[in-house]
Amino acid sequence: MRRIISVLMENEPGALSRVVGLFSQRGYNIETLNVAPTEDPTMSRLTLTTIGDDHKIEQITKHLNRLVDVVKLVDLSEGAHIERELMLVKVRATGAQRAEIKRCTDIFRGQIVDVGPSVYTIQVTGAADKLDSFLEAVGEAAIMEVVRSGVSGIARGEKVLSL
């Protein structure tokens, strides 16, 4: 099962390599990963998605917690949460294709952020499966380049991950 694990950690050199190293060392998968400082510049928030059964996920969270740089973490998929990913897609857009791609972008509430004579660069945000659907809708033939940020997430309601 796919899980979103969000980690609050010290913004220290080497902290990221410890987290990533843990996954390769213990044979866990990382599907997506993103990391950036929080409102408190001494801390970073790392969000990763991984796939595993309950036992594996429990091991992952326990081992992450064991890292001295990790302050707190939460498995967002355990409760109600909001998941977002940002994607930039460069597509070949010529002739009738241009209007079609524009329509498709509107349907997915994306934005065309750069326009060239034969190219559009489109920004789409949403849950990962929405981005997958967009790519499918545009069609492989038109796609020149895809950049995805990896999943970010936050719990719904009052729950927060902070000190």
Partner: protein, 582 residues
Amino acid sequence: MELLSGGEMIARALEDEGVEFIFGYPGGAVLHIYDALFKSCKVPHILVRHEQAATHAADGYARATGKPGVVLVTSGPGATNAITGIATAYMDSIPMVVLSGQVMSHLIGEDAFQETDMLGISRPIVKHSFQVTKTEEIPEMIKKAFYIASSGRPGPVVVDLPKDLTNPHDKYEYNYPKKVKLRSYTPASRGHSGQIKKAASLLLAAKRPVIYAGGGVVQGNASPQLRELAQELNFPVTNTLMGLGAYPGSDRQFLGMLGMHGFYEANNAMHHSDVILAVGARFDDRVTNTTSKFCPGAKIIHIDIDPAAISKTVNADVPIVGPVDSVLTELIALVRELRAEEPTLPDQDALGHWWKQIDEWRDHHGLWTAPRYDTTTPYIKPQQVIETLCKVTGGKAFVTSDVGQHQMFAAQYYKFDEPRRWINSGGLGTMGFGLPAAMGVKLAFPDADVACVTGEGSIQMNIQELSTCAQYKIPVKILNLYNGYLGMVKQWQDMQYDGRYSESVYEDSLPDFIKLAEAYQHSGVKVTQLSDLEEAMKEVFARKNELVFMDIHVDPHEHVYPMHVAPNGSMRDMWLNKTERT
């Protein structure tokens, strides 16, 4: 206000931390530090002959005393040579602080002379690591390193020190913090009372209980509590390889070691139990055999300081995260409370039957109830060497070992009555551990008997430390169980590869160990006859101030038994000798 250079700060911080020995080896990147040690440092430095030995010596010291061992090595090869010893300490949760030199800050990343990414190389085998980026940080970082290494589940911590930050000309204010706090690191300080209550009720409802105690009891100094609880309940106890001594070996309730080369009665008791109290043990693959067949009827209570150790390989029914000493203390109090209300618990009839069954197993194939090895061969049996060692030292020696058959024989046949006396590399299984570890132990306990049980394979992996022992007059006793083979490799080749001894035979290439010991300013004794063994060993141990190398020629074809049947065996599936299995 006192101004010190980075090098001086390190020397002073080690004093302020109460460090008793530094095990190390100088080199370019740490010369400022070594100069500071030379000028003013009350902590004696032991110059080893290889950095791996520095880590093992510090490790041996830490295992015997419970205090963190301290290592100082230079950058590059100094640091990489220390890696095996750091990994050894990590696998067995041993507190250690490793100070490694690094090239000057501005050279980092430029493939400078003797540069290696020590933080990167050591990352998977340390509890934590730091790289100093400003000289002013040194005191606090060293304090943090000691705190992290020795609290919670202990482990090695690396502090990487770029050379420019130890420069004698740049001086800063020195304050050694009394305490440090890390917001991201708070080891459990006590167990969950609700879980401890559940554990107490489960123990009192048990009909076929067994206590399975590991290295965590030794490291957590919970041996007295373990004894108290076991004796309060009259429950049988088995110790892991790392836990030997946590429960007294000569006590009636002790079943011996469990696991791959565990005792028949211990493995059977585990397999047939209905309640297992696991304390500071980690259900290692060398204990459980096939996990899906592990102790099918048992409810498991698991106490450990490290939540990640719980339900990792075998699911715990009652997990308790906390320091083993305080959890056991609470558990004892609760058990007593409950027994005061219902004195008939646990069911004494059932317990009586259980003990009867255990005694039958002991009589059938207990290693301590009768000799289970063949005494009709002309050779000295390795088991007899350990039995003799136990007798000659009154069961009170510190025994270090290397890795292989001799290690298992030592674990099986030396009756450890106290924790911290059995010093071996259990998790990583590091050959070459025994001699340097014995040095660390002997330095900490100069009046105690310290024996290094080893084999020709292992001893040669750190034989150069005989020179260190000569320099510092460290009179350990070495018992080399000479069989001319890599014994454990040969055993597996006998059992699983039709006796094809691929690269496990030394033929006539081994050195004369007596002459070798003499070359290092020590002496040696060779024993080939059983009739000479005890007398020779007594004489060796009577020579208190000398390192003596005992080269004892043993049966080259002996195997370690019992041995778990694998793959797909359960705890109770064992080979009992070369032809008989359960």
